[in-house]
Symmetry: D2
Subunit: 461 residues, 4 copies
């Protein structure tokens, strides 16, 4: 660990792609503290059921107090042991009172301690991630409200389609964030579950008190108690990986929108704050650095999540030789990377400036042809859909070729004039004409957000 | 499509790795029917709100009736179009009554139709998958009950650890299956959601009736109505991918256990039914063919799921140029493969024979050393844990070296004799001594299964 | 197979994401023909070594002639067998001459036949893919040549950086395509290797003629002969997956550039041919449909490739129970999808129109600030780098704020005037000033392409 | 970085899943040194071409000397910058001689420095990995030689198939390792390539000396010079990912064999050295800890490799906003994990003990039915294949049911007696009868290994 302080993956944090605060909570030394916490809680739970004495439990708790373990020595020994628990217990046995040593780790196996400690770390990470998601949702909600009517071109396959508003985009972001928070809240109690089974899941040493002990331990640690041990059934971990996949999906989408909308030629949003600049070009000011980092982190998280998806079903018998141990690294790493992606996106979105008139200008740059659907609809009432579409198709070609507004071209067209007045054409060609549902959709997303924010805050306290 | 009848991926079905029945429900011709169903439902919903006339809706419904589309022509045209909806509409316009043509597809875009049709297919697939999961759970529940006390060695890192029972293994399988069914039930209404947004998600053509229309359409199709369109926010699809990942994880684990437990040298379960045999070896009878196929299918499903995970956050602006279209293939394929994996596992588990005394024989083959933990615990009360563990370690070496039962070796040992009677040694060395919690765990899993079976059946009818 | 004609994955072809011609060569019926070809070749090879008689080999060859197998019956039986070879042999035994039956499949196992047949299909697919890559490279080479000097803004993080040319972009595409062709050529003989080992890789039935027989079989099929069987060492398949990953990487990059450069606001390239249009918007003409399909296919290929990567190391003992069988589907599917992605990209690039003056216009739209680096370099000679960069930074702000060309702003600046003449400023601000290395780079890429085209064509004939 | 010393992913090293020595060479501080090395080499190369002065180059080289950078400050600043190069240059400008500052980083962009530095680290890692692969191959070669005739059952689908030898297994491992070394050697010069392009790949600042400078820089760093910059064409990185995928595939397969063959019930190999033990069970001695760690590391490597595969084609325009930056972490991490997997497998295989008679005993435990193919072949000569297979099928059932050796059962059978003598039956039933090709296969693999070892050592020096 001493050497590891110059470790290869510090780059993650140095590059700002991981969450520093989550990384600290999921660090190796903190993991050791969590394992000690589990050993102490196990002892207290056993004492409560009379399996060991109160004195033994107290002795264990004292030995497990923070700061009493030589972490460097532990790391060194763990690297060649099958698990870090064995050298940890060796150290505890050196310092615990003699009568407590017998009761230490009583009936448990290494996996019980590592897995439950890991779940405690997952809880911390999920709480931090959800908090950040909530803050991001709040900001999106405000953007949706503020920019209900800020025009920009909707784009499909990167081609201008019909007018939309930035508020609608932000509301779609918001909706996706809120759905992810709902899933976090639902999966929390399913995933945040004690693992205690003993050597191979029979709770054999505890006679008939096994299930009661699992419940007591769960209560001690404020985790859920499972029906039965899950040492080799890792679907809970895969469920968590699914939750995190959903989160990085939403992060990547929003970050991509930020990058695309801030492209020089689009320019509908602008990033603020330290943007990175360039080592070569003095004019480079608007690099969407935070969105870039959010996307990098989301990709990196997906890599670790693929490990969890791939390993989940490959746990042989009662403990896997490889598939489980891969979780030791992939799970915390996935959480740190996911948290990092959310944090960096948070910075990006908080610093986002909507360039108010650029969207309208971009619509104008295509001469209003993005209202062709509305114009065709207006004409269709009289001409029938097919004829109307064909006519508008012609007008669009004229508008683009002659670089004149579609409305003007349509107003000058005789076939149009037969069925629509100039005002009717102008109305159909107004980009705002097709936006009458937008505010209601934004409101729906914002209301849903508030509902979930209330509920979720209760869940995570 | 005609040519595709000799298509490259028929192999999936020919090899038995896909679900034939789900494949049929998710086929390309059925997808076309589903798209027609969506167009018809959209018309009816619009008629109800007065957006189009009842006569128009009826005309559209007639044109959309099953069997009226030339699917081969459609397939040919779709291959060069941006989407299959455009040539589909072309055919419909040829056959629909003239006044209905204007109302056909009114205000919708291709993605609305494809995506909602796809969700209808997802619903069918999820229902089929959950039904099969339920049947599999029922069988595991029965196995757990029947084999509560059927001994076998628990194995960690492929080494015999402590005695467990086959019933406990089956209960762990059951628990995992039940957790997956809970997630299917929870995610169903979240995923089974209408997509309707029009060209870029503004519902622009419907004036202020957009959200009402979405609700009507949802009612028509018995799907949920979303807060706002989700054309480019694909986290729902990723959530579904997570659900399916959980399922194939559990399938793979159970199938792996079946393969491992039926290994010649382990032999604790035996597969029945047509086992495949060998093209070379007359003695080859017990190939776990169904479990093998289940694992192959699970791997294949994971491949398609990785497409969904990877694409989910890469949807640019209001419609992706590639990431969305990849869903057209990956999503049905993932469902067919997942369903196939569950079906083949169902066959494997239904045909499973537990070889009742083989587990006990395997325990005996290691001279009872798998009770070392229990013996150490018994000795520990007097000797202290450290001394007891060391002593048992010595006895284990003797037992393995001299190929004598550990109990016998222990009974003959003077140090043991000082603290334990022969009977006490025999009791500690009885593999059943450590199984007193097993039945309660099995009961808990079975009860949970029954609770969920009741609830889920209600959800999916 | 009959039922599979309405199979779920026809959608791949219907959607145009797979290669129809490669799909046909990799179809299930063709796979059966390939298996028959291997059985016949095996017989001929054995006859040559005197293991069986010439008459037996001829009898087998006749039974294995194309068109004599009932493929529908075979498919049905294969779905419940461990492998399709067992029912195939059953049919062959019905039709082969009695004395030939004993010699049929002599000493082989199912995996030998399936795997070698699969390699024959891989060969066909690789040849088709490489041919298409070559054609695509040729087109990129021509584009690079033609558009050596066609200006557009280089873009980093979607922000305009410095001027480049379209020819340079095409040359970079070309370079990547050529590197992939080199790898295809290098890996071909490594991957296109016979598998023959018998039941578990000992070639046991052939006495001491095993290795000689492998060589004869390889000669018959024009494949390489391996040092030893590779039934459970699937690194060759993973090497192939790596080759295909490289190809779809390059396809995805080029297709992404096509999509990005054809975006409405960028507009530097335009797609031609049937572009798909929109079911809603009459003005939608320039959808980059082929590039879109290429990207979708590349994503889908990556999904199947992930199956091959994931399964490669999980082959237990001498034949895997699941990991190998997953290859049956994932390998041909990966090839069909890869081939499809290359084909659709070929169509996209062949139809690409470079909009000659749009790049220059886009550069002008940012007032020439993309020459800031060159201007700073020119000033730096006198002012030092730091001062020059700061000064140009100021000028850039003025240019962008006042919407005036950077050259004009610089020429009007007193600090600039002290060190550079108007002509020197104009020279530094000419976007072409920094392009003097471009032609040489384009030439290098084109020359490399010609070298490889010559060599590779020899390899693949 | 200071805080990162307690970083979350130290766990990788603490758990022993990463290579400590490779981690050190790929650490963040070493990466900084490598970036300095590139800046210095770039200056020297420019001086040689007269682009900057020798004095400037020397000044830069002195500023870039190891140990002069405040790495902690750099890490802190890099986390909010777009890249670590910008704050690195800021520090260099503080310490470099004034006249050198102008020449520092002249014409380069951040990506040039980071990417080329990264390639230098890749080279170190590849060399270390290949060295370890070579050592592992050497050990497998020795095992193959030593255990040419050590019997064990070949197993397909985990069922005993026919007799093989451990030497053949080791030779298959060897063959796979050698193929991977060949690929490393072939890809090295393709991947170990300088990146220098300037702001967007035009080498614009260097007038017409751009390509010459790239060559000079390549010579300075002993890397290959590319035809043109590859800032956004990342297929080289994907090619490398393919190479590493091949390596971890082979590692996983060998490690899996070690785990499976050391399973309690199989017991044909035994691991030695510190095996980890158990925190619960005194008898747990033979845990295959190193193979377990190798498999965990291989899974973890695959996770990072999936990032590289997924990102490779998503580099927009001339520099990606996310896809490239993900490489900063995924590439070194993939190398450290791959190296770790190879190292741990090396320890596992070096410590492997073949339990000489256990394989024969396992064959005997199935009463010799694994020779059924040979017996059927012997009978087939007289009875015809079909009848012989049926007869042997019957005899196998008798042998297994009555628990008598197949040879004995066959010798007692009248139908057999009609065509084979007792000695002929015994000969067919001898497990060694089918192994006559094994030694030649082992020799072929060993010879290939020696050829490659000679060549590769030359390549990597």
């Amino acid at each position: 660990v001493a050497d590891a302080s110059h470790g290869w993956d510090d780059g993650l944090l140095a590059a700002g792609f991981g969450s520093q605060s989550v990384a600290e909570r999921l660090s190796w030394p903190v993991r050791v503290e969590r394992m000690l916490e589990v050993e102490a809680a196990l002892a207290r739970a056993q004492a409560r059921l009379g399996i060991i004495t109160e004195a033994q439990a107290e002795g264990i708790a004292r030995a497990c107090a923070p700061g009493r373990i030589d972490v460097a020595r532990l790391a060194e020994e763990a690297a060649t042991a099958a698990s870090p628990v064995i050298p940890l217990l060796a150290q505890l046995r050196e310092t615990a009172p003699e009568d407590a040593v017998t009761a230490l780790h009583h009936g448990a196996t290494s996996q019980d301690i590592i897995a439950t400690a890991s779940i405690l770390q997952v809880r911390d990470a999920l709480t931090a991630i959800d908090l950040e998601l909530g803050s991001l949702a709040e900001r999106c909600s405000a953007l949706a409200d503020e920019h209900r009517a800020t025009l920009l071109p909707g784009r499909t396959l990167k081609q201008q389609a019909v007018p939309i508003t930035f508020g609608l985009v932000a509301a779609r972001w918001l909706g996706a964030l809120v759905r992810r928070r709902e899933q976090v809240a639902w999966s929390r109690p399913r995933v945040l579950t004690v693992q205690l089974g003993g050597a191979a899941g029979t709770l054999g040493v505890y006679r008939d008190q096994g299930r009661a002990l699992v419940s007591e331990l769960a209560r001690e640690l404020d985790l859920a108690a499972p029906d039965l041990p899950w040492h080799a059934e890792r679907d809970r971990v895969v469920e968590l990986a699914g939750v995190l996949s959903g989160i990085v999906t939403v992060v990547a989408k929003i970050a991509r929108d930020v990058v695309d909308l801030s492209a020089t030629e689009v320019g509908e949003v602008r990033v603020t704050g330290p943007s990175g600049g360039s080592s070569a070009m003095p004019h480079k000011r608007g690099n969407p650095t935070d969105a870039m980092a959010a996307r990098a982190a989301a990709r990196l998280a997906a890599g670790e999540l693929s490990v969890l998806f791939g390993a989940g079903g490959e746990h042989e018998h009662e403990r896997a030789a490889g598939a489980w141990q891969a979780e030791w690294v992939a799970l915390p790493s996935a959480l740190v990377r996911t948290a990092g992606s959310v944090e960096r996106l948070g910075t990006a979105v908080r610093g986002l400036q909507v360039v108010a008139d650029r969207g309208a200008a971009n619509l104008a740059s295509t001469f209003g042809v993005t209202t062709s659907e509305a114009l065709a609809a207006a004409l269709g009432a009289s001409l029938g859909r097919g004829a109307a579409q064909a006519l508008v198709g012609d007008l669009v070609v004229v508008a683009l070729t002659e670089r004149r507004p579609l409305v003007e071209v349509a107003q000058a067209d005789e076939r149009v004039a037969e069925v629509l007045t100039h005002d009717e054409v102008a109305a159909a060609g107004d980009p705002r004409a097709s936006l009458s549902n937008v505010s209601a959709m934004i409101d729906a997303a914002r209301t849903h957000h508030l509902d979930v924010a209330g509920t979720v805050d209760e869940v995570t306290r």
